[in-house]
């Protein structure tokens, strides 16, 4: 009975969905560096045939340090990470996703997204594609991240905070 609640919540926040993106080349000019302070994105995350939607807040907390929080529409936190040049801190990661391999993937993808550099060791399982849709101002209106190795796709739609 007890585990039923948890499983229920898992299924409750996961719905089906998928799509594809093209490789526009890396490294990319990250808008998160320089004078960046914070940004809010409407977010959809498709991961291993599951779909989670909600909002992501990315905030610079110190020089080259970032806080990344993703929560679903009803306010439940999916993940809460802190990214530093030399380390990655998991404050919270939704139970079923709490796996070493997932943490590694999130770290690598956010490192690439935010710092804008790529890893030297590139192969199918170690590559993330980033696609950007230009907006009216300097900010991209949409950023798409695609990790073909685990079929993870993250869509970030820029919002006013």
């Amino acid at each position: 009975m007890k585990s039923l609640h948890f499983s229920g919540l898992v299924v409750l926040i996961l719905t089906l969905g998928c799509s594809t993106v093209k490789d526009l080349g890396v490294p990319w000019e990250s808008p998160f560096t320089g004078s960046f302070e914070k940004a809010l994105f409407k977010t959809s995350l498709d991961i291993m045939e599951n779909h989670i939607s909600g909002y992501t807040l990315i905030k610079k907390t110190a020089d080259s340090a970032y806080h990344i929080v993703f929560s679903n529409e009803i306010g439940m936190t999916i993940y809460d990470f802190e990214l530093f040049p030399e380390s990655f801190k998991v404050n919270y990661l939704f139970g079923p996703m709490y796996k070493k391999v997932m943490i590694k993937i999130f770290e690598r993808d956010f490192r690439q997204l935010i710092y804008g550099f790529i890893y030297s060791r590139q192969n199918f399982f170690n590559k993330t594609l980033i696609k950007v849709k230009k907006g009216k101002d300097a900010w991209p209106s949409e950023i798409m991240l695609y990790n073909p190795g685990i079929k993870m796709e993250m869509q970030l739609q820029h919002m006013t905070l």
């Binding site: 299924v11 809010l40 807040l57 929080v69 919270y92």
Partner: protein
């Protein structure tokens, strides 16, 4: 820095606590009875809501607004209008979640799991969750304007995902006016209901899946 945060947190917690008084067993029984009576008399609820996700460490807040409809027995329409549309409908044994063009349908009848989740949602809205001793430990407190029921899930995994649930009952009508989901980090999601209309006719079509 961490120590400063902890001291500040304890200080603020104490300040909040000092404004709330613990109720006697007799008072608790009486309030629970009034909540039960109100839930029994309520056939429909129509209300606006504001949802605030407070991220304390980041000092940031995400605000969403929407409309909520409830009709006995077990019909719920939970609709976010801003900043983006998002719709959840529960109609007895079925549930639908609509995010932009994606729709997901779930059969609650085939899953005991979903019936339980459904019970939590319905119980929180009607306030009857304060009687759910099987799944929550509860404490009832009193503040100037509210009776506050603090519910702690007994299942540790549920507690981790959902945190504590605080239900704020209006003192005059014994209905839930505000609810909060509070996680261990101090972040919380607060849902405040406004423009509430009780027992008005709501057509079944509003809950069509």
């Amino acid at each position: 820095m961490d120590k400063v945060m902890i001291i500040l947190f304890i200080f603020l917690s104490n300040m909040t606590m000092s404004q709330q008084t613990q109720l006697t067993e007799k008072e608790t029984r009486e309030i629970k009875q009034k909540v039960r009576e109100m839930a029994f008399m309520t056939r429909t609820i129509e209300s606006d809501f504001v949802q605030e996700k407070e991220m304390n460490v980041l000092a940031e807040k995400i605000t969403s607004r929407g409309k909520f409809l409830f009709k006995k027995d077990k019909m719920l329409r939970w609709e976010y209008l801003t900043p983006f549309p998002y719709l959840i409908i529960i109609n007895k044994d079925r549930m639908m979640v609509k995010d932009e063009d994606k729709e997901n349908h779930i059969n609650l009848q085939s899953s005991k799991v979903f019936r339980e989740v459904n019970n939590i949602i319905m119980g929180a809205i009607q306030g009857t969750l304060l009687d759910d001793v099987k799944n929550f430990s509860s404490t009832l407190l009193e503040s100037k304007n509210h009776y506050i029921c603090k519910l702690i899930p007994l299942n540790p995994k549920l507690k981790e995902s959902l945190g504590e649930i605080w239900l704020y009952f209006n003192k005059s009508d014994f209905m839930v006016e505000k609810l909060e989901m509070r996680d261990a980090s101090g972040d919380y999601t607060r849902i405040t209901f406004s423009s509430k209309k009780i027992n008005q006719t709501i057509p079944d079509e509003k809950f069509a899946l």
